[in-house]
Symmetry: C2
Subunit: 194 residues, 2 copies
Amino acid sequence: MNPTEEKILDAAEEIFMKKGYDGSRMQAIADLAGINKAMLHYYFRSKDKLFERIFETKFQGFFPTVETLINNENNFTDKVCTFAEQYTRFLIKNPYLPHFILNTIQKNPEFAKKLPHHIPQMLIMSYMEDCQNGLCKVMNPAQLFISIFGMCIAPFMGKPLFVSLLGANDEDFNELVEMRAVDIEEQIRAILKP
Amino acid sequence: MNPTEEKILDAAEEIFMKKGYDGSRMQAIADLAGINKAMLHYYFRSKDKLFERIFETKFQGFFPTVETLINNENNFTDKVCTFAEQYTRFLIKNPYLPHFILNTIQKNPEFAKKLPHHIPQMLIMSYMEDCQNGLCKVMNPAQLFISIFGMCIAPFMGKPLFVSLLGANDEDFNELVEMRAVDIEEQIRAILKP
DNA sequence: GTCTATATCTGGATAGAC
DNA sequence: GTCTATCCAGATATAGAC
């Protein structure tokens, strides 16, 4: 790919992720990319188009790859615990992702169209199976998934709150989230224990 | 209070809550209030000032009143379960609140200044006490609070996702969250069980 | 393909009549 | 206190030279 195009995409990603669509300025993206504003339009025509390009890419990354869940041939509880740990580690590297995705979708629900519906389907089946074998507590799977989703994104959604409430700095917080990647397993197992 | 002022505040609340600061237009607020743009400036001087006014009010509501937790003289687990249920019911009536608050703070961390630090302090002490009496599982209280926080806000942060993934409509979703106000207790108890 | 200059429009804010 | 008309900064987008 054209190196200029790539610089633009990198810059756009950083700005859009941090500030959202409304809060981002084409000038800021151009500055960060070290090129001129006109080039943005030359390569991507409009702010809308550029944003969509970034969103598409990031949106896919927001959902865990199916491999994570399938390649792990254990029972449902193991699957979910592995997922939660890996997903937390993934979000540590992409801390702005939950805010960016959820906020964009909330203001613009049509962005949620291309969702990977097969993932929850698959998980529900796996859960049901283990339930019938007495390996999991019986509950509404939707409530379960919402909780796990919340437990995974919470530290990144509320980071400024936690940092302030705990009187912590960025380093402390990173340490806390690193530990969380491990600690979260025990909490999920507790919820799922029959 | 002046009825015009009140109309403005109501309109501003609705627009700001849904669209955030950057996405909101003074014109939209004026239209919704059924008055002229100039009046907004007459009463609140600037968009910034008007926004801060709304944020201050909503920010306080985002944190549970201490009474909820203190008046309930039971053990820590009961306290937290009662809180989670009541807080979920509160958020059902204020579904945009988590997005609005967390997004504003993320883009503008100084808004997180006036946090009620005594609430977590109090909760931690209550948790520690019950731990020593063998009533709660021992864990990092920060991890516990992050999880409960996440479990409470998750449905409202991810509503468009869940609606789409579950093939649900708004009514189904409301029903799901109503049930959640009850179901969440069992999950929290499981996590806290020694 | 990259730049400068400029067109065009939008949105926050103000002036001034009533 | 409420309105209309207007100003002006800032943002997207385009024209056109190189």
